[in-house]
């Protein structure tokens, strides 16, 4: 049995691990997949049915798959960015033609996440400046909240910024031939909506108040 602190640490680690998959792949990550250890850290929280050793034939193949799925030199692709899957803005004063449509960068979610990062004095790389709502950053921030936030904040953040993953998976399925990234996203979806971050979060909160 994990202690609560240990569970928190591991949960935070698990979120950080998942965040790794939405960054450009490293050879280390590929090797860990190949030898079946990449997802070990998730096992306390998610029932793993696969270990994905054969997801990619080579590191190059994994890189190409990442580029293909998320970066868009080919079509279709599905960037892991929240704004793209939500109405661009709810502000009724917006008079640009796409204001009520989905599929555009730097929507309301990006503004909000950017605001939260600023409030918590968190910095992120320049290349993500217009996409602070990238899934890798959302997962990192959730991990950060586990350590520094409150239960309400965790709940609120999940509820506000992890409600687009089903739509993302739908689009990703069109792009992800290996279905690896689809699987990882389903794991993310499962984890952020699991008792580890939900039902048992009150206990985490209690611990925090100690």
């Amino acid at each position: 049995m994990f202690t609560m602190t240990e569970e928190k640490r591991q949960l935070s680690n698990a979120l950080m691990l998942l965040a790794e998959f939405y960054k450009p792949p490293t050879n280390e990550l590929y090797q860990a997949l190949r030898n079946g250890t990449a997802l070990e850290e998730l096992t306390p929280f998610v029932k793993m049915e696969e270990t994905y050793e054969d997801a990619f034939s080579s590191y190059e193949n994994m890189k190409q798959s990442y580029i293909h799925c998320f970066l868009g030199p080919s079509e279709p692709f599905a960037p892991p960015i929240e704004s793209l899957y939500k109405q661009w803005t709810d502000d009724p004063t917006a008079a640009v033609s796409f204001a009520r449509q989905t599929g555009f960068f730097y929507g309301d979610p990006a503004l909000h996440v950017q605001y939260l990062f600023r409030q918590f004095k968190l910095e992120f790389p320049e290349e993500y400046r217009t996409m602070p709502d990238h899934l890798t950053l959302l997962l990192e921030f959730l991990s950060f909240l586990l350590e520094h936030g409150t239960t309400d904040q965790i709940h609120s953040f999940i509820s506000d910024h992890f409600d687009w993953l089903d739509d993302f998976v739908k689009e990703l399925k069109k792009a992800d031939k290996s279905l690896f990234y689809v699987s990882i996203t389903q794991i993310v979806n499962q984890l952020v909506h699991s008792p580890s971050l939900g039902y048992r979060s009150e206990q985490l909160g209690e611990e925090r108040s100690e």
Binding site: Q64, E75, L84, A95, G103, H112, F120, L122, E127, H148
Partner: protein, 736 residues
């Protein structure tokens, strides 16, 4: 358990705000509510939806573009913008933009690379090409000339004369004729006109918002508008008369108009005597072109030609034939002569430099940076496209070049490195399958914002430029299309910070030049360039940034340019030259005479049509077709349909909505048809917009067909244009 290392992107700055410090708007709903209360900032700049470059004011809220509207004083917009202007703003946040430098790794396969890698690889490759084949093997293709001063420094350094615009696909015949015959370029003074002939010209399709405003104002004051076009174009809707001329015969119509003006002594003798050179020869050679001669050629009754010529003379000098743009001026083998006749007709009625006639655009003398001279400049050879070269295309303007023959230059081994900037020849030049061969050059670099066909099929590298709402440019003296007395200066400036990992073209050239070993070739910034440009004007950068467009006291007055009592146009004689010296080739007099179109549909074959094309008001050729909002308009208005005349369609059993097969010598495509009375029976009309075939452009890909699909690469012998309507197609209902 193995612990994989983590690349933490989200890093705490000096102090992490810990639990208990709750941001005011942690919840998304509260935040959104608060965000609506933020103030709106207005940033003036100008549009990039077409080459009108209308002044706009972008509203910015929460660092996002919130609204765009027309700049109140800009000559082209005057407070209004068109659908394209709104649509273009949407693309700012589109996921279809190229988000960083890309390198081709296979057919249709690219990988993101860093700018440093891009510069290093392109610079090394270019250097090796220059060393092996000389700088003359390097070609720069650009939509216009915006970046020419930057390219010139690199091309002067490597010895390339091959800066080429896309104008051979657009309007070369017009600018060539005006240059040779007048040395200048004038615009219609629509606002003050009493009689306007728009022949192959459509301000309401290729929208110029303030141009339309001027025309409607003139009409309110009683001006007459005559539209001569095989198609009932958008501007025909407000015309007093629409004359559906037989396509390809505008030259005959104009020759006959001149004949009426001269034979009925309606021309302005004083003006002609004082300001025209070559009238007598013209008069002699024009004698045979009577309205009766023109009637069977043009399909316009001789009496109607007389009526128009007489009215034209009656209202002159507050009357003009629109000098035109794309329509007529890259369409036929006789386009240059047609453009010449436009000048001649206007001159015959003496409307040059007259209010309500043709007037100049007020211009500004801008300053420039005093840059260090380039040392050891290699000698440049002749242009590889032959523009301006004796024995090749001697009469074609070398400053514009012949863009659409680039694949041939590549195949001939003349073009080894091709840079293509803000231009998409694979979609907007004739014969896309041929244009694809540009990819065979040793180095192809596409500097475009999106995954257009050229980038996707031909580029080795794609270098994405900042979007027009993200970049600062050298200020632009506003001119073109509409005459105006007061010079204007407009600034394109960033409305928001760049969304993606993009750059200015200047920075790209700096990077490439550096990698080639030409350090400090560009020892300046765009800001410094702007400062130098405005220095003579007595304004500050801050003033210009704040205003976006500044208007200066009037500099234009009516009256023919004179010097020491003599006409002073920049021509050999100082006069309007009815005989263009440069066109006196092959024993010709340089005076326009009848030249029939190269091809004719067979009148006995019900399936044959001349394929013609035109702009739609909500699209700008192919550059806006991946914008969802604008393509919705295409859906709404059956925008992708090919128009056919009702009587001809009936013979073929074709109804609106039917799919037909259109076939030329080089292509066979399917398209839906709109059957209408509003088109000349010999013509099949296609919008110039559709037929996208880049798989990366998910909105545009596979929608409709394009006129360029059907036309082979041809070169107008005088002006180098595409002759894009010298094509006969057969049309058959699907299944027949």
């Amino acid at each position: 358990m193995t612990n994989l290392s983590r690349r933490t992107f989200l890093k705490a700055s000096a102090t992490v705000v810990a639990a208990g410090s709750v941001p005011a708007y942690f919840g998304f709903s509260e935040f959104k509510k608060a965000a609506t209360e933020e103030s709106v900032k207005k940033v003036p700049t100008f549009c990039h939806g077409c080459t009108s470059y209308c002044g706009i004011v972008a509203h910015v809220k929460n660092d996002r573009v919130w609204k765009v509207e027309g700049h109140p004083i800009h000559l082209k917009s005057s407070g209004r913008i068109c659908a394209r202007g709104h649509g273009m703003a949407a693309y700012l946040y589109s996921k279809d933009r190229v988000t960083g430098p890309m390198k081709r790794v296979g057919e249709g396969k690219f990988e993101p690379i860093s700018w440093n890698q891009a510069f290093k690889e392109i610079g090394e490759k270019l250097d090796s090409i220059v060393k092996q084949y000389t700088g003359n093997s390097v070609l720069w293709l650009e939509h216009g000339t915006h970046r020419k001063s930057y390219v010139d420094r690199l091309f002067d350094t490597i010895g390339s004369p091959n800066f080429t615009t896309q104008y051979s696909t657009c309007f070369n015949a017009k600018t060539n004729a005006w240059l040779q015959m007048t040395g200048t370029s004038l615009n219609g003074d629509h606002k003050n006109a009493k009689y306007m002939i728009f022949e192959g010209r459509n301000f309401a399709g290729g929208i110029i918002p303030n141009g339309m405003n001027h025309i409607t104002k003139a009409k309110e004051k009683g001006a007459k508008l005559i539209v001569i076009d095989p198609r009932f174009s958008e501007i025909a809707k407000i015309a007093d008369e629409w004359i559906p001329i037989r396509p390809g015969t505008d030259l005959a119509f104009r020759l006959a108009m001149a004949n009426v003006l001269i034979s009925e002594n309606l021309y302005n003798k004083t003006f002609v005597q004082q300001f025209v050179d070559g009238f007598s020869e013209f008069k002699r050679m024009n004698k045979e072109y009577t309205p009766e001669w023109a009637e069977p050629i043009t399909g316009i009754k001789a009496d109607k030609i007389r009526e128009i010529a007489r009215d034209f003379a009656k209202y002159a000098p507050q009357a003009f034939i629109e000098p035109g743009w794309h329509g007529l001026h890259s369409h036929y083998v006789n386009s240059t002569q047609t453009a010449q006749m436009g000048i001649i007709l206007n001159a015959l009625v003496g409307n040059f430099y007259e209010k309500g006639g043709l007037m100049p655009s007020a211009s500004l003398q801008l300053g420039h940076l005093d840059l260090p001279a380039i040392e050891n400049m290699p000698e440049k050879g002749a242009r590889i496209d032959g523009a301006g070269v004796t024995g090749e295309y001697r009469t074609v303007e070398p400053s514009r070049g012949i863009a659409h023959i680039t694949p041939q230059l590549v195949q001939q081994g003349l073009a080894k490195a091709v840079f293509i900037c803000n231009y998409n020849p694979l979609r907007t030049a004739p014969d896309p399958e041929e244009q694809k061969k540009i990819k065979d050059a040793d180095l192809v670099v596409s500097i475009n914002i999106d995954w257009n066909e050229t980038s996707y099929y031909a580029a080795d590298y794609i270098l994405p430029e900042h979007y027009y709402l993200e970049r600062l440019e050298h200020p632009q003296a506003v001119s073109g299309h509409i005459s105006h007395d007061n010079p204007q200066l407009a600034l394109r400036q960033p409305v928001i910070k760049p969304m993606y990992d993009t750059k200015d073209t200047l920075d790209m050239l700096k990077g490439i030049a550096d990698a080639m070993g030409h350090k400090d070739l560009y020892p300046f910034t765009i800001e410094q360039e702007v400062e130098a440009a405005i220095a003579p004007l007595g304004i500050t950068f801050e003033q210009l940034k704040k205003a976006g467009t500044l208007e200066f006291p009037a500099t234009v007055k009516p009256g023919f340019p004179m010097k020491k009592g003599k006409p002073a146009l920049p021509t050999l004689t100082g006069k309007i030259q009815f005989s263009a010296d440069l066109f006196k080739i092959d024993g010709k007099l340089g005076i326009p005479v009848w030249v029939p179109p190269l091809v004719e549909p067979d009148s006995k074959n019900d399936h044959e049509f001349r394929l013609i094309h035109g702009k739609q008001p909500w699209h700008s050729h192919a550059m806006t077709t991946n914008i969802e909002q604008l393509m919705k308009l295409s859906d709404k208005y059956q925008g992708t349909f090919m128009w056919l005349n009702a009587s001809r369609a009936k013979k073929l059993g074709i109804k609106t909505g039917d799919t037909v097969t259109v076939k030329s010598k080089i292509a066979k495509k399917k398209v839906q048809v709109k059957v209408t009375e509003l088109l000349h029976p010999e013509a099949a009309w296609l919008p110039s917009t559709y037929g996208g075939f880049s798989p990366k452009n998910r909105i545009a890909n596979g929608v409709g067909v394009n006129f360029n699909d059907f036309i082979p690469i041809m070169v107008d012998p005088l002006s180098g244009s595409t002759m894009a309507q010298e094509v006969v197609v057969t049309v058959a209902k699907e299944g027949n």
